[in-house]
Amino acid sequence: MTKGLKWAADLVLYLCALFFLFPIYWMITGSFKSQSMAVQIPPELFPSAPTTANYTKLFAESEVVRWLLNSVLIAGGSTLLACIVATMAGYAFTKHRFTGQAVLFGLVIVTMMIPRQLGLVPLFTLMKNLHLVNNGWSVILPVMALPFAAFLMKQFSQTVPNELLEAGKIDGCSEIALFTKLFLPVVKPGIGALAIFVFSFSWNDYLWQLIMLSDESKMTINVGISTLVSEFSANYGAQMAAATMGFIPIFVVFIAFQRYFVKGITVGSVKG
């Protein structure tokens, strides 16, 4: 490749990165623009007279704090429970033998390929019969059943040497101790990657949350924000403030655990 072509390719790449980041930049800066500044043409690339009025309005007129709390509880609860369930499953799949093991793992693989939305209607009816409409459990339980989580933990569990567990058995460890004292410490990094995956999955599981959580006080942040689009219609600054409030927590998680994000993506696919 010639030097000029290389330079042009680099330029295009950086422009694309800016294009991808632009909506986020526009949202954050827009949240500090007053209603008249937000609709002014030409628009200001950076608010010249930033205001926090949008945030004041947001906190006064919506339950955004409640929604954030709901999201944290639901995503956190889903993560904790899904990690326990999937880690046990990964252990059972790789370090134990039970009847129907191969069939069950086959089902896990098959269901990973089926769109979850196929089961939307029956799942809705099921939750209604369990009286879990407008209840956080209705969105936590399906996340615990994610086949990808079990698959991911099976991949990680395979890397734990069998010799380690055999040595533990000879030393007289109980089955529970083998799992908690020997197995868990070794798969810890894998659980970290899974936790990040489940947390962001649950945080963004919008469609299902929209169906199950219609009560304003029960909504998660994404569902809540989406209702503000019509409530704050044409008030773009206030809409952006709401969106920014939803962005910050997950952004913090992303920055703090970026390593695990990448690991979760790569382990789940090519190296599997």
């Binding site: 937000a38 059972a92 089902l107 809705f124 086949p147 963004n204 990448v262 993506i265």
Partner: protein
């Protein structure tokens, strides 16, 4: 006396425990017990919230099922859907969306990764974060930002075009451009994962392959076609299949940006399914849509598996 019965049972168990502990340990039942002990939590939730809904959806699709009615109609829902213009349009829109999103985002990811792999770790890290951030940011939040960007009067998209002397575009209300507007948005959250995977895949190709090719006088393009692409085939398969599955289920951006309109020009199968079930209460019909969607996705995935299967072994 419950207390007495309890201690008797405990004595018996202790006896069993002491006398044939080794035998029990080695027995099949013991192994089965612990295997099931660890799989049980997953088995329960997986059966109840994954397998059962899938099977029940297929069953329900054979009923005229809604609030206060449930009547067996065989394949009635399916024949209704295949004769429904709006549903056929939603299939067409979904196909166009998939055909627009998948090649563009996968092609772009591969090109970007091929450039970034030669850069320093810090630059690679910048691009990984830039391309992955839109995925983290949730489709709801991005859609709301785009709703403003696309506003024909006050949005920055038309302002940007006006700098080049281009007339304002009615991004979300002119049915000839709405699907393009939707595709642009969807691509921004479809690039992050393929990019990271391609970067990892490219990093795994031994540089000796390229050096050997250089000695043989191979051009950069030749190296790309004969070394890089074949070796990345497993990554490409995974990326194409998962991006296709994701694009087939596009929902959020439709709900927030266009509501399926104008004139059903952006109604996807998923959006129509949602409206049919949860707005109009036709649960049986919606289940049939879900089944058809799953069938379409399976067909696409199978074709892709056939096409991209790594038949080249190194």
């Amino acid at each position: 006396m419950p207390g007495g019965a309890f201690s008797a049972a405990a004595d018996f168990l202790r006896q069993v425990h002491e006398e044939s502990w080794d035998k029990i340990m080695a027995s099949r039942a013991y192994r089965e017990f612990w295997g099931f002990f660890f799989i049980l939590p997953f088995l329960l939730v997986f059966a109840a919230f994954e397998i059962y809904p899938f099977l029940d959806a297929i069953y329900l699709s054979l009923f005229d099922y809604g609030i206060g009615r449930k009547e067996w109609i065989g394949f009635g829902n399916y024949s209704h859907l295949l004769g429904d213009d709006v549903f056929l349009k939603s299939i067409r829109n979904t196909f166009l969306l998939v055909l627009g999103v998948v090649p563009l985002s996968v092609g772009f990811s591969l090109a970007a990764a091929s450039i970034v792999i030669h850069k320093s770790a810090a630059v690679a890290s910048f691009f990984r974060a830039s391309f992955y951030l839109p995925i983290v940011t949730s489709q709801v939040i991005l859609s709301i930002a785009w709703l403003w960007i696309y506003n024909p009067m006050t949005g920055v998209a038309n302002y940007g075009l006006s700098l080049f002397g281009i007339e304002p575009v009615m991004w979300l209300s002119d049915s000839s451009v709405t699907l393009v507007a939707v595709i642009i948005v969807v691509i921004t959250w479809c690039v992050g994962q393929p990019f990271i995977l391609y970067l990892a895949g490219l990093g795994g190709i031994p540089s000796s392959y390229y050096e050997a090719a250089s000695i043989d006088g191979a051009s950069p393009w030749r190296k790309f076609w004969s070394i890089t692409l074949p070796l990345l085939k497993p990554t490409t398969l995974y990326v194409v299949v998962t991006t296709t599955i994701g694009a087939f289920q596009t929902f959020v951006v439709i709900q927030l940006l266009t509501g399926g309109g104008p004139n059903y020009s952006t109604t996807t199968i998923m959006y129509m399914l949602y409206e049919t079930a949860f707005k109009y209460g036709n649960l049986g019909l919606a289940s049939a849509m879900g089944v058809l969607l799953a069938v379409l996705i399976s067909i696409f995935s199978l074709i892709q598996f056939k096409f991209f299967r790594s038949d080249v072994e190194y």
